[in-house]
């Protein structure tokens, strides 16, 4: 008797679960599709900031960058994609200084591991969001990241004594502000 019961109960639970499955796909049929039509939706594309597309060296209005040619990025790059070529120049004081001559970056071999960006002590290089980098020849993927005629941004020398005297005063002002 129980096998007969199992036969029919199995049949009906089976039918019920099938109908449940059908209802799930029915709802999916009418849901709004999230497929984005790529070449036409370039204007409304939202790419997150942390997406790594192409390594760049940000230059400001005065054509200055922050790279001191310390070659930490070159040392950390796992496959030798970065080549930092430096030259020594004489400053006004007569001291010999090492500055960046050319910063060669090969987009073709980059693994986008972000190690160069993380380890750079002067925040000189960043990954941009420009993802349309396809070319027809591999040679065009080797890029020089520092612009023509650009130089290192001079760091502003802060007066240390004034800074320490001003610090406790600044802290007091802040406390009063928060109380209010």
């Amino acid at each position: 008797m129980s096998s007969v019961y199992k036969y029919f109960s199995g049949l009906f639970t089976g039918i019920k679960s099938l109908l449940l499955g059908l209802s799930v796909t029915w709802k999916e049929l009418w849901a709004k599709k999230v497929t984005s039509q790529y070449p036409e939706n370039r204007d409304t594309l939202e790419i997150s900031d942390r997406f790594r597309c192409e390594l760049t060296m940000p230059h400001d209005e005065n054509n200055e960058h922050a790279c001191t040619a310390c070659t930490i990025c070159q040392m950390n790059c796992p496959n030798g994609t970065i080549k930092v070529i430096s030259k020594t120049i004489e400053t006004e004081d007569g001291k010999k200084k090492k500055v960046l001559d050319r910063y060669i970056f090969d987009l073709g071999t980059c693994t986008f591991c972000n190690l160069c960006v993380i380890t750079c002590p002067s925040d000189a290089i960043k990954f941009s969001n420009d993802f349309e980098n396809a070319t027809f020849t591999r040679g065009k993927l080797v890029k020089q990241l520092n612009h023509e005629g650009s130089k290192l941004r001079e760091k502003k020398k802060e007066v240390k004594v004034e800074a320490t005297a001003a610090a406790p005063q600044a802290a007091e002002v802040k406390k009063e502000e928060t109380k209010e």
């Binding site: 099938l18 499955g21 796909t25 999916e28 049929l29 849901a31 599709k33 999230v34």
Partner: protein, 377 residues
């Protein structure tokens, strides 16, 4: 052209006019020859065009079920994609595998296509649009669709490939098992309707579709026929013989180019044929919805041409087929055969007995409410 005011859009007006024009001008032999050639060409064209439309509809509807958009680049909404696919399959290279049994290998796709075409000829697309109207219509259709099994088995056997062989054996077992259920489900309706001829079947459903006429029994028969139909055409959750990852492509692994195109085409058209036979037998074929006594309503319904009714009903069943395909997991071969022999067949036999009881004791809808549903005025 004869101006037929009551059914202006019917193609049967065109065919009758053509027939009278030909008969008035040519001897009988030439009239028949021209008509046969025209019908043959029309059927072949319909075969190909319906396959193209179905492939496009399947790709779009499948995509919508799967939260994506389907082809939408080639032509507006992607309709030319189907044409591009057809051109591709016509031009692809047929790879001549060396160690196959040549005669059987090249003959196998033809069995599938011929079986498919023979069934295709018996479908009633609209009023007066049926090429073969035998008085044993349903019997003919069941018999001829069985020829497809030979194609499958030949394809697997002659491929000289162990896995194609296994796929063919599985497919063959599946096909012959489910033919039983399909045939019995159709028999149930033959019992209800008293005739096997398609045109008579459809005519008998003028005021009440068969699926409502035999209430419990014919709804069960409908569901069983749809399930067996899908299983017969290797469709939906029953496509184990073609499940790519397990057997590469089953019995049609070694076929390429146009030969594969034949198998592909035959599969699509078989789905269409199952759906159209189901509409003819259960849902009233090309007969519009008519209510006894409401002549105005009936007039309006007949203005919508019969082939539109047919296409709508068949389209609904094909949509059902797609819906089922993308909702259910695939059945293993033992679950498949289990389903047939332990569930569908016993239920079918009981259902047949139930239908006989219903008809004999006069409990069908057309007997219970003759003023609404009976054909006899």
């Amino acid at each position: 052209m004869l101006l037929n005011y009551s059914e202006p859009l019917e193609i049967s007006n065109l065919t009758k006019w053509l027939d009278t024009v030909l008969r008035a001008n040519l001897p009988e032999f030439w009239v028949l020859l021209i008509e046969f050639v025209l019908i043959g060409v029309a059927l072949l064209t319909a075969y190909a065009v319906i396959a193209l439309i179905l492939i496009y509809v399947e790709r779009k509807v499948t995509a919508f079920f799967q939260a994506r958009l389907g082809p939408n680049r080639v032509g507006k909404y992607g309709w030319i994609q189907s044409v591009a696919d057809m051109v591709k399959i016509l031009l692809k290279e047929i790879i001549h595998v060396k160690e196959v049994d040549k005669f059987l290998f090249y003959a196998a796709p033809f069995f599938m296509i011929v079986a498919s075409m023979l069934t295709f000829g018996a479908i009633a697309f609209g009023k007066g649009l049926q090429a073969l109207d035998f008085n044993i219509g349903i019997f003919y259709v069941t018999a001829v669709s069985s020829l497809g099994v030979i194609g499958v088995l030949l394809a697997g056997w002659s491929s000289n490939n162990k896995y194609s062989m296994i796929g063919a054996m599985r497919s063959g077992a599946q096909l012959i098992s489910y033919e039983l259920s399909a045939g019995l489900a159709l028999l149930t309706i033959v019992v209800l309707s008293g005739t096997m001829q398609f045109s008579q079947l459809i005519e008998n459903q003028r005021f009440c579709w068969n699926v409502f006429n035999g209430h419990i029994s014919s709804i069960i028969a409908f569901v069983i026929y749809l399930i067996s139909g899908h299983a017969e055409t290797n469709r939906g959750p029953f496509d184990l013989p073609e499940a790519e990852s397990e057997l590469t492509a089953g019995y049609h692994t070694e076929y390429s180019g146009l030969q594969f195109g034949f198998f592909y085409l035959a599969e699509y058209l078989n789905m269409f044929i199952i759906a159209s036979i189901a509409t003819a037998v259960f849902l009233g074929g090309w007969m519009p919805i008519q209510i006894k006594g409401w002549d105005g309503f009936n007039q309006i319904m007949t203005y919508i041409p019969s082939y539109v009714w047919f296409a709508g009903k068949t389209g609904f069943l094909i949509f059902l087929s797609l819906w089922v395909r993308w909702s259910f997991p695939r059945l293993r071969i033992d679950q498949l055969l289990n389903l047939e022999w332990k569930y569908l067949l016993p239920i079918n036999l009981v259902n047949l007995t139930l239908m006989v009881i219903l008809v004999v004791t006069g409990l069908t809808l057309s007997d219970l409410l003759p003023s609404w549903f009976s054909i006899v005025p």
